[in-house]
């Protein structure tokens, strides 16, 4: 039998705020010694109280807006009670009844899974967002030998949990959804979106149902996915497994599966969902959260144009190729660099795209610039200056490339480098004409040969003139002058 796959995605995004959700502790804990980013509040010492991190709320609102959600103007915090050693208070402060954002959607481009390219089979689809709410992260348990250790550095770091409607139907769509979501949180600057570091954790819950039928099949949840690839692989694996079970007349059990990345298989983690009663109730230590119109507006203004919209604009308005548009918009800083470098002039878009995806990325790669384009010394305004100099034939393209290398290394402006090194092209015909006449005078044999039909000797003369001008001769002018001079001599012979 043929089955339809139904997937809903629950994603936890860890925010990159400076401090934790409810205390002043630094939230930048990655790689820190265990239990060094802690205080009475995030350790739940007796009597300690939470205080809201406004920035974390704003980040959640921004994500909600980027996901086309409605933003709740009145919400409150709730306690979700359960026992675990990594949960210091014995409850998590979260939003249950009124999430900060709800009823949204995200458009995703589902590309070729192998190449990542847009192909004939690629398509764009909409995934509805049910809700996005704020909560705090837990600590981290490590088991060594017979002992367990707990590190509370992560406890209280702000999280946003994003829940979709069951609109995802293939592993590739799940992949596309998460990568689009990752791009969005990076664009907003609210999270590194790094799945490998646990800053984004996607948990698909999926079921199979015979095509054409309505009721959902039994839901299986997959956890422990540390990369986009793992999300795709685990879903593909589960589809195969569940199809086999169903086709052999068996039943899929409601379980939580863990993905074993090394072996490429899912393993049952929890047999049957225990009937948890989290005993939610409003958090008495925090006043309800009211989002004023002014606050909402100030946050809304901070939401930038997102990658997908920029992509469309770059292809439609600037005439860039789909490939260039994707490469230039994946990173918000690159997209912004590009737009400054092209200076809003569509005719310059292709040139700016070539400079960035070609020279700049090559130089960044060989210089090992890992901090991204913002760390590059050459500013986009300086690149714009260089592009203009090429357009105006002040420098030729080869000279421009060496000028750009200098800009990249020193951060000096294009014009400053060209002036200092005297690299400007000689376009003054009288100066060039002298060099042309000299070249013809000095090489009568070659001239005779050219006039006799050896066309390739023309380049010899171009080379002679460029040599005499130390490479600064405007090649087009040099060629024109040469042609004229040779024709004159042909007539005078």
């Amino acid at each position: 039998m043929e089955y339809e796959i139904v997937i809903g995605m629950e994603t936890h995004v860890e925010q990159n705020t400076a401090s934790k959700m409810f205390c002043q502790c630094s939230a930048e804990f990655f790689g820190a010694e265990p239990n060094t980013h802690v205080c009475p509040t995030c350790l739940a010492m007796p009597g300690a109280l939470p205080v809201i991190n406004r920035r974390a709320v704003e980040n959640a609102m921004m994500i909600g807006l980027a996901l086309n959600c409605k933003i709740a103007r009145h919400t409150f915090w709730e306690r979700k009670s359960y026992w675990y050693p990594d949960l210091p208070k014995g409850y998590q402060i979260t939003q249950y009844e009124y999430p900060i954002a709800y009823d949204g959607y995200i458009d995703i481009d589902v590309r070729d899974s192998a190449s990542g390219n847009w192909t004939e089979q690629s398509y764009r689809k909409r995934v509805r967002i049910r809700r996005a709410h704020l909560e705090e992260d837990t600590g981290k348990l490590t088991h060594i030998g017979g002992s367990s250790f707990v590190d509370f550095n992560r406890a209280g770091v702000p999280l946003i949990e994003i829940v979709t409607e069951p609109d995802i139907h293939t592993a590739d769509e799940a992949y596309a959804f998460l990568s689009a979501l990752r791009d969005i949180v990076r664009y907003l600057g609210v999270s590194s979106g790094d799945m490998e570091k646990g800053a984004m954790r996607g948990e698909p819950n999926m079921s199979l149902r015979p095509i054409g039928t309505e009721p959902f099949g039994t839901k299986v949840e997959i956890k422990n996915l540390n990369s986009l690839r793992a999300v795709r692989d685990s879903i593909e694996y589960e589809v195969k497994r569940q199809t086999e079970v169903l086709n052999s007349g068996g039943k899929v059990h409601q379980v939580t599966m863990g993905w074993d990345d090394a072996r490429g298989v899912t393993v049952t983690q929890r047999d049957k969902e225990e009937a948890h009663d989290y005993r939610y109730f409003p958090e008495p230590d925090l006043p309800p959260l009211d989002v004023s119109e002014e606050w909402f507006e100030s946050v809304r203004k901070r939401v930038p144009e997102l990658a997908l919209s920029r992509q469309d604009r770059f292809t439609q308005t600037y005439g860039l190729s789909a490939y260039d548009a994707v490469v230039l918009t994946r990173d918000r800083a690159v997209a912004e660099y590009f737009e400054i470098a092209m200076g809003g002039i569509p005719a310059r878009a292709k040139a700016a795209a070539n400079w960035i995806t070609g020279e700049l990325f090559r130089l960044m790669g060989s210089a090992g610039v890992s901090a991204g384009i913002n760390a590059v010394k050459a500013s986009p305004a300086q690149l714009a200056e260089l592009i203009e100099m090429v357009e105006n034939k002040v420098v030729n393209i080869n000279t421009a490339k060496s000028v750009f290398e200098e800009m990249f290394a020193t951060g000096q402006g294009a014009k400053a480098i060209v002036d200092a090194k005297g690299l400007a092209q000689i376009s003054d015909t009288s100066a060039l004409d002298k060099a042309v006449q000299d070249a013809l005078d000095a090489n009568p044999g070659q001239l005779k040969g050219y006039l006799a039909g050896q066309d390739k000797l023309f380049q010899f003369f171009v080379g002679q003139v460029m040599k005499a001008t130390k490479g600064k001769g405007n090649p087009q002018i040099v060629q024109g002058l040469l042609k004229d001079a040779i024709e004159k001599r042909r007539l005078s012979v």
Partner: protein, 486 residues
């Protein structure tokens, strides 16, 4: 007896004038505590070394001409408030070995004002109780009659003030825990408006009801302490950003023209007759002093008790989840994680705490939440509105604090409902989040003190302090000391 009977006001005057030093005063208190605590058990931890160091430092500051509101004044602190470097047990065995590294905001403000901390006073475990019998460290005895309870949960603080073991003491009041022991011990007990004093560092029982108050010898002393510790604290989001008047000034004046409401629901059958008589006489006294007395009705008073016993335990059930033996306090290792939790909490918590955790867990459970917790919250809103309406017609409300005077130790321990009824007149104030004070207004046939409760509008502590102070100027009940009895 000498320095131990002084009020804060008198102590400050004497210290400022150089009549005695804070070290002298502190030594006298410590000596008295060591003498009487074996009998009264008012203190769980006595802070000998640090107290003398604080007194020494205060004397040096006084010598330099410094003058802060509590400079050199010996104070006791209920052991449910976090004190830096000083063991804080919450009256529970689960925190027997817990010494905080940080001060509660209220404590920090007292410290900054120059107070000397004599020690941590006994209480019902996690402030759950009305007799101090639920303490993991033994019952506190009432200084007026050692066979009787001091009330609770701030029984240690009330007994310490009554027995002159400190100038004043901090208490906490979730359902009457400052006012009721104050009444039973014959001292002043001020319960502040919810949000007036930061709860940061108060080991939570019922977070939406907990408030920090003062047990003192005079209303004026209570006012001095409130002025020091009141006011918005960025560490407590429920603390309110409203001006803190200098209460010692704001309370000046008389009760002439003050409208005093007397709710009929607070004068009910089952109340000890001489309590009703004394309270009625107290109200009559206010009338004679120029107040207008008006009968009012607060019909929801009768449901305050069940509402309280749904909301407070519900909050407590989550608040006490942190005591899991993982990060601090008692840990009793078990076979596995769940077993460790069970053994730790089983051994660390007393019976009443377990009872309330179970009550609260039940009230929050799926299927019961709407019927219990949500309904209780709705009724709580009605109670609050009822007070707001009443305060449109009257300035303060006068009533008994407790239906009985101090009862015998052991008398009610086997009957939780009887014990809960001890708070029937004090709970509504917490549910409404308003302020209240207990003032000595007489003695019963057995010579045990009786308290008059004055309730005020939210953030209008000045009104009840003014009335209490005026009342004490005209009466002498408060002049009789527990020590005089013997």
């Amino acid at each position: 007896m000498t320095l131990c009977t002084l009020t804060i006001q008198q102590a400050r005057e004497g210290l400022r004038a150089g009549q005695f030093s804070s070290v002298e005063m502190t030594r006298e208190f410590l000596a008295r505590i060591h003498e009487l605590n074996p009998v009264l058990n008012a203190f769980i931890t006595i802070n000998d070394v640090e107290a003398l160091a604080q007194a020494q430092a205060a004397d040096e500051r006084i010598a330099r001409g410094e003058d802060t509101p509590l400079l050199g004044v010996p104070i006791a602190i209920k052991d449910v408030l976090s004190t830096r470097g000083l063991r804080t047990t919450a009256g529970s065995r689960i925190l027997e070995n817990y010494t905080p590294t940080w001060d509660a905001t209220s404590v920090a403000r007292l410290r900054a004002a120059g107070a000397v901390f004599l020690g941590k006073t006994n209480l019902d475990e996690f402030a759950m109780g009305s007799s101090t019998e639920n303490s993991g460290y033994g019952v506190t005895h009432n200084p007026w009659d050692q066979t009787r309870v001091p009330g609770g949960s701030s029984g240690g603080s009330a007994a310490a003030v009554a027995a002159d073991l400190c100038c004043a003491a901090l208490g906490t009041d979730t359902g009457g825990s400052v006012r009721q022991p104050a009444a039973l011990c014959g001292v002043i007990g001020l319960k502040n408006t919810y949000g007036r004093v930061s709860r940061y560092g108060l080991i939570a029982y019922g977070s939406s009801l907990d408030s920090i108050g003062v047990l003192a010898k005079t209303p004026r002393d209570a006012a001095i302490v409130l002025s020091v510790m009141g006011g918005r604290d960025p560490l407590d989001s429920t603390s309110v950003d409203t001006p803190v008047p200098d209460f010692a000034v704001a309370m000046n004046g008389s009760v002439a023209g003050m409208r005093v409401g007397v709710p009929s629901e607070y004068f009910i059958e089952g109340t000890q007759a001489d309590v009703t008589t004394a309270v009625r006489a107290g109200i009559e006294q206010l009338r004679q002093m120029g107040a207008t007395v008006k009968e009012i009705s607060l019909p929801n008073t009768r449901v305050a008790l069940p509402v309280y016993y749904l909301i407070a335990p519900a909050e407590a059930s989550a608040n006490l989840a942190r005591f899991d033996g993982v990060r601090y306090g008692l840990r009793v290792p078990g076979e596995d994680l769940i077993d460790t939790y069970s053994r730790t909490r089983g051994a660390g918590f007393g019976a009443e705490v377990k009872r309330r955790i179970m009550l609260g867990t039940y009230a929050l459970s799926a299927g019961y939440y709407d019927a219990y917790y949500i309904r209780a919250q709705k009724v709580r809103t009605l109670i609050k509105q009822e007070f707001e309406r009443a305060f449109e017609e009257v300035d303060i409300i006068a009533a008994p604090v407790s239906p009985t005077t101090a009862f015998k130790i052991g008398e009610k321990v086997d009957d939780p409902i009887q014990m809960y009824l001890a708070d029937v007149f004090t709970l509504p104030c917490n549910l409404a989040g308003i302020c209240g004070i207990s003032v000595p207004c007489g003695f019963d046939a057995a010579g045990l003190p009786i308290g008059l409760q004055l309730l005020g509008r939210a953030f209008d502590e000045a009104a009840i302090l003014r009335a209490a102070d005026a009342y004490q100027r005209e009466t002498s009940w408060h002049k009789k000391r527990a020590g005089d009895r013997a």
